[in-house]
Symmetry: C3
């Protein structure tokens, strides 16, 4: 039992450094199960309500898989067209009813604040899987967990990290949440690279500075950066006031292998919240980086499963029972 | 093994009083599992085909959860757009094929009679989860089970019950089915309150009178009623010949705390088939009743899980094995 | 462990006769589990990613059920509208991400070649559940397995088989794949009956002749055929250059009991890839054949579960462990 037991996970702001370190420690202990060196039935018989009122295939499947990996069952729903919410039911009523059908809920919904409102009516713990422009705390945690693990390979820690964030820093929910979490650590250097129209919001900049971190803001990728992490986000051209404005920046915030070599040290880890647009006109993160061992984007999604397993285990208070319910994996796997 | 084993559940008309009492007794025995005091793996390895050709999130999830709570697996489908039915396949063929994929089927379909037609082709038991305007027997059973349990708190029984039904009694499938089931009991008093345009159909009134029950029909909520149960249903204004006609009744069949206090005794239980429309213009069942301990609407949906567990167990002939396959619940729960 | 272990199943062309016989032997051994004489938990804890980017209720549920029957869990997705693929993500990226969420993947997608492309990015084995006009190997295998089993009742083998294929042989993916598989066997007689506009493609005809099989091509059902198998496929009238052209053939490639009696011997087995259009204007496979014991169309779909169970077991290398994890079935079933 920890302070997580029985509680909702709604926002990154509810985490302090100790809580994060507990999540990461449990997440790390989940790796042998996710990599199929062994399995656990600790949540055999438990039911996850995987309620994606806003569809998102990968986040939904990631939550569901995390629960299955702990031995539990998943009931789910996708979209809102046929739900009672579309007929005027309140989130409170929906929560009261659906929380009768599961032991824990993961929920995504397009409206900011909706998951917290739902959680008030829920009789079981609720994990926020994204509520519109507001929060997506499991993404922020998996990003930070990835940073921690990638840095470990180089004997570094989050304290003292230099992170470059590139692209749309204004509307990119993930970079906001990640920045907030990084404010719990020490001596972080932020280099924020974006078109002026898509700059990081002032309240995040203030939080970074209040945390005593160092901050550099620029509108172009230049010089030789010594960043440990390059966190790339997509620029959607419709964010600009006009196409002319968008054209001015086209291709300036993309990353490919030659741009990487020119601007980053050879160990800089490349991250991205995914999906990346791989169409040639996308100018985002080129496929030629697939051969670069520092491209961590698929390790991020793998880490997402570990983080979600950890949150389920902690919230349901079984984090110390997982290994007691261990069993061998008897089928073929090359994941380990 | 009971008379349920291997049989379909298609209509409330297939139940006699003894069958209902058996369902309720098994449903009652399911509560410790649903409340997570313990769990059972009696249906470990069994597969439910949860076929919702007409989408309905809560009914679908309720059936799925009930099956999971007994230890079984769920395969499901939602909607009809991509099903073979849309390509001219007969319900007989669909049933022959899909019944090869599961041990039992719960099915919803928009066409009246479709589930019975499907059942003829099915090689496994079929539970009707709603076939259009026709039947929704598990809803009727959970309503009656709720009445029984709510009355028990006051040392009363269904025999001798006074029930007020309010709202759209013409098109409300749930009040029809519930009325039919109540005809199996003794000395029930019905007070039916609806606009004349939305009055209870004559064949139901005849059934009530044939059962020797007492009946009062009115078009307004008036005086001090001594009802044990107030069953509220939604009035959809498009049911009226004109908006002028609808306006005449607006707000007259809603319930809020002050109307409740004025017309009902302090122990009258409030029921509703849900979802309720909580928008202010809805005039249905106000949110201020959420604090009223007699508001049983969420106990109804919880009871739905128990009733569906009972029907699965009875239909698959395992109702007496459930406790033999009991296991402890090792994760956090505050449901018990 | 066999040559299947850890490998993708993408095309019928990857099978030789020995591989097919292994699949069929394992499929046969799955029947007691599918018929509920017993159950197995060999894949308890394993996760199938059932990714139907093109919806197909029965194929999706068949794969899911096959995995459940082996004891495994299923995570799934239907349609593409909300997937990252719709936002420009490459199949490579999708595969890299989603293969982190399961132990094996069954996938359907509307684009020819898409499943093979996906498989290149996948870190787990991928089973092709249909990639547009290209391949649907499990359907071909279940068809051939059905032929083998139906012939066995008459002490016959696939070697020496006489098969009549009727209907749309040009666009019917199933008859192409089945023909290719039959080229691995000896002395097969093909009678191909279709409108000239919908004749079997030349490359299939060449393959049949190269295999040394005998071949008769005709545009009408005539005389007294001694076919062992009659494989019927639907003619979609929109395939013709004009409705006038379509009308010339209307009803000439349908089968009903009297046409069957006139043209086929009493033991000829009737097959169809399903769904069949049962509307009266369909002219396909009449419902009066439902009483004909040689109508094997529902045995085909049952066999599909066995073949998919076999492919899962082989691909995950547990085919020899299945019976070690046997358990009794304790619930009602009349499938055995």
């Amino acid at each position: 039992m920890s302070s997580f037991t029985g509680n909702h996970i709604l926002s990154v702001s509810q985490f302090d450094r100790e809580a994060i370190e507990l999540v990461f420690s449990v997440a790390q202990s989940m790796e042998p199960y996710a990599k199929r060196q062994k399995r656990t039935t600790v949540l055999d018989g438990a039911i996850l309500g995987n309620l994606f009122f806003e569809p998102s295939t990968r986040t939904r499947v990631s939550f569901g898989t995390a629960f299955n990996l702990l031995g539990g069952e998943v009931r789910e729903t996708t979209g809102m067209a046929n739900s009672a919410l579309a007929k005027g039911e309140s989130l409170y009523d929906t929560a009261r009813v659906l929380s009768g059908y599961s032991d824990i809920i993961a929920m995504r919904h397009p409206a900011a604040g909706s998951v917290a409102e739902f959680a008030e009516g829920s009789r079981v713990p609720v994990l926020n899987g994204g509520d519109g422009a507001n929060e997506h705390p499991t993404q922020a945690l998996l990003d930070l967990f990835t940073i921690k693990r990638e840095l470990q390979f180089n004997n570094k820690t989050i304290d003292g990290l230099h992170i470059a964030m590139i692209g749309d820093l204004r509307y990119g929910r993930t970079v906001h949440s990640l920045s907030k979490l990084l404010c719990l650590f020490k001596n972080v250097r932020f280099t924020l690279i974006s078109p002026k129209e898509l700059a990081m919001p002032d309240y995040i900049l203030a939080a970074i500075e209040n945390a005593g971190h160092s901050l550099k803001v620029t509108d172009q990728l230049e010089g030789n950066m010594d960043a440990d992490i390059c966190y790339q986000t997509r620029i959607q051209e419709e964010r600009f006031p006009s196409q002319d404005e968008a054209n001015k920046y086209r291709g300036k915030f993309r990353l490919n292998q030659s741009i990487y070599t020119r601007h980053f040290q050879s160990k800089t880890v490349i991250m991205h919240p995914l999906p990346r647009d791989s169409r040639t006109e996308a100018n985002e993160l080129d496929n030629d980086l697939n051969l670069n061992p520092n491209l961590a984007i698929f390790r991020q999604t793998d880490n997402g499963v570990l983080v979600r397993m950890a949150l389920f285990a902690l919230t349901l208070g079984v984090e110390n029972l997982v290994s007691q319910y261990e069993k061998p994996v008897i089928w073929y796997s090359n994941k380990s």
